[in-house]
């Protein structure tokens, strides 16, 4: 399948794409108009007067379905002169041209629907492609894999020096990580349940907001009275409700983890990490090694105790691309971290000198952030909920303690080629950045920092910023000059 001719001919998406596009359009429409739809059904049964809503629904359907159909009919993709060309649109014609050597990642995704048709969605990432929606909604799985292999083959720079005999040895792919059921349970239990609770509340609120006009007045009044009733209820009832909420959050976290990480596998291929898995929506991502700008891994307090980490591969790209490439890999044992870090950079020697940040960080954050926040919260509580005013007094020591922890836990090591930052207040948060990945260096000083010969240094990379706050000015300038020397004297590719 991997021959030039095949990819040079303009191709359509597979027939499944039409179904996927229509399904997405209908789903999108239903998500937008479902309150109207519900209202329509409600009114229909109540009055029998439906004309206006029927016309409205018909109009919206036409507006949504026709563009979807046109998108399928006028879609073509092909490869020509080292460029992937995607043509789409009937009225507003759009041609996306992606030079193959600029493509930094190709994602093959299979939703449940796509799996039914043995098809896959293929999307492409390039640096600076913020507003470019380069994707093929559905082609056969076999074709998707062949296209990815072809593009990677075409875009990869030759690693063998000229003049040397080129003997290409197929390097076998190696599965580095495959979390088991026990690991997934560990991941679920130690997950951030506040996030799940937030999701639950968000969903409940939006549901209530949407159906408020539709549900009966009695029920609406009961909802409005709920806080009052809660206040009058017994402590046991409130505790039971809270426990139920926590249980719901744990269940939601577990479901989310299993949906995302079921059958999860990290494979080390020749040019990058192949990462894939998922219960209903299977996702396969390839993150080329050279696109990774910096590595970071985290563990909250609980995960630190059970030796469990989440590794982030921070790859180059614009905001939406980064979201896709910002792959989070669950690491079930700290011993795996050096293995995963190796293709990027060997972990710095543990015996290297460790530097910290200056204590002024705590004082300044207290004055600039903690005190104003406490005053504002205190004032709000005083005027609105006077009985809870005392709570604002706890805020200041909490925030100060928080900054003090940051100061105590922040440390960094400098090697000839990289920077390692260790932070994380109660848990672990480590960042590993190779100097050659830096695109710009910024030294910032507030008026206070100027008076006290302090500075904050920013290393700006194609995947985001890495910061060393409140170090001495002398140290910041030394690091800045050295990093610039490393970037400017190196021929190593960084993208």
């Amino acid at each position: 399948m991997n021959n030039h001719k095949l990819w040079q001919e303009p191709q359509r998406q597979s027939g499944a794409a039409l179904i996927i596009i229509l399904y997405k359009a209908v789903w999108q429409m239903l998500r937008t108009i479902w309150p109207i739809l519900l209202l329509w059904i409600w009114r229909k049964s109540a009055t029998g007067n439906t004309d206006r809503y029927q016309w409205m629904a018909l109009g919206i359907s036409v507006l949504v379905l026709v563009p979807a159909l046109l998108r399928f009919i006028f879609f073509r993709f092909y490869i020509q002169n080292g460029q992937l060309i995607i043509k789409q649109g009937a009225i507003n014609k759009k041609t996306i041209t992606l030079p193959l050597d600029k493509i930094q990642a190709i994602h093959i995704e299979q939703s449940f629907l796509l799996r039914l048709f043995n098809a896959a969605k293929v999307s492409f990432d390039t640096p600076g492609s913020e507003k470019m929606e380069a994707r093929i909604d559905a082609i056969s799985m076999e074709k998707a894999a062949a296209l990815r292999a072809y593009i990677l083959d075409q875009s990869a720079p030759a690693t063998i020096e000229e003049g040397e005999p080129q003997v290409l040895q197929p390097v076998p792919e190696r599965v580095v990580l495959q979390p088991g059921l026990k690991d997934l349970l560990k991941l679920s239990i130690t997950n951030n349940h506040f996030e799940a609770l937030g999701l639950l509340f968000g969903f409940a609120l939006s549901l209530y907001d949407n159906v408020r006009d539709i549900i009966s007045n009695q029920l609406a009044q009961w909802f409005e009275r709920l806080p009052e009733e809660m206040a009058q209820s017994s402590a046991i009832l409130i505790i039971t409700l809270l426990l139920l909420l926590v249980l719901a959050a744990v269940v939601i976290s577990t479901v989310r983890v299993f949906l995302q990480y079921f059958n999860y596998k990290v494979t080390q291929a020749v040019k990058g990490w192949k990462i894939g898995g998922g219960l209903i929506n299977t996702q396969q991502r390839l993150v080329p090694f050279n696109k990774i700008q910096f590595l970071s891994w985290r563990a909250n307090w609980l995960r630190k105790k059970i030796n469990f980490y989440i590794l982030h591969l921070n790859a180059a790209g614009a905001e939406d691309v980064k979201k896709k490439l910002q792959v989070s890999i669950p690491i079930t044992n700290a011993a795996f971290l050096p293995v995963m870090a190796r293709p990027y950079y060997e972990m710095p020697d543990a015996a290297l000198p460790v530097y910290g940040i200056q204590k002024a960080f705590v004082y300044r954050r207290t004055i600039i952030v903690a005190i104003p926040i406490t005053v504002i919260v205190g004032a709000v509580l005083y005027f609105i909920l006077a009985n809870f005013f005392w709570m604002s007094l706890l805020l200041l020591p909490y925030l100060v303690f928080n900054y003090w922890l940051v100061y105590k836990k922040f440390s960094f090591k400098l090697t000839a080629d990289a920077l390692q930052i260790n932070k994380g207040k109660l848990g672990v948060h480590t960042i590993l950045l190779k100097w050659v990945k830096v695109q710009q260096v910024q030294v910032q000083q507030s008026l206070y920092q100027q008076r006290h010969q302090l500075a904050t240094i920013y290393f700006i990379t194609a995947a985001g910023n890495v910061v060393l706050p409140y170090i001495t000015l002398k140290q910041a300038l030394q690091i800045q000059n050295y990093v610039l020397y490393k970037i400017e004297s190196s021929n190593e590719g960084w993208l």
Binding site: P127, G128, E130, Q293, A316, G317, A318, E319, K322, A416, V438, Q439, Q440, V441, Q442, V443, Q444, Q445, S446, L447, Q450, I460, T461, A462, A463, G464, N465, L477, Q478, Q480, N481, Y482, L484, Y485, I487, E488, W494, L495
Partner: protein
């Protein structure tokens, strides 16, 4: 294969802090001041309209609150413009460009040429009136990862842009 691993004398490395920076064109202060005047007048007009048309604000107390708020912010902007203008300066070195800016938070940005993806020169209405332009540098990735040197003489901006474009052009495709 011969392998060198020379010791890097960090003390001998070129120092950004010792580079003599070139202040931006003095006319740029006039551009900033014109922008300030326009913003001040437009915001005053918007606030007066809000005060007149929104019944809730239609009292002497609100007139005093809004007026003094406007005065404080506008006066602060005047001061900020004057102070930050004094700090704006740039320098071109063999391998990078340096730009210093800011007043309350002062920053020095350095961008090596071999990390720049492309660059552009633009000029607004007032900048054109004073023969000035801004040079924007774009690196890969996020929008944050670029910076703009304001207040350059138009000819200088174009010269720097051409110089950078020549520097970043792939080997064998260099502009003459």
């Amino acid at each position: 294969m011969e392998f060198y691993n020379a010791v890097v004398e960090t003390a001998l490395l070129p120092k950004v802090e010792e580079t003599t920076l070139q202040p931006v064109a003095p006319e740029y202060l006039q551009v900033l001041r014109w922008n300030w005047r326009i913003t001040a007048v437009v915001s005053l007009a918007a606030m007066a309209a809000a005060w007149y048309f929104i019944p809730f604000l239609h009292s002497q107390q609100w007139a005093i609150i809004l007026g003094s708020g406007w005065f404080v912010i506008t006066a602060f902007r005047w001061l900020w413009i004057a102070q930050s203008f004094k700090r704006k300066a740039y320098a071109m070195r063999q391998h990078d460009i340096i730009y210093r800016s800011g007043w309350i938070i002062q920053e020095t940005q350095v961008c090596p040429f071999n990390r720049i993806q492309h660059c552009s020169v633009s000029s607004g209405l007032f900048e054109r009136r004073f023969g000035l332009a801004s040079l924007s540098l774009y690196t890969a990735g996020t929008n944050e990862a670029d910076f703009t040197v304001h207040g350059l003489d138009e000819a200088t901006a174009i010269t720097i842009r051409d110089f950078i474009l020549q520097k970043i052009a792939p080997a064998g495709n260099e502009q003459s």
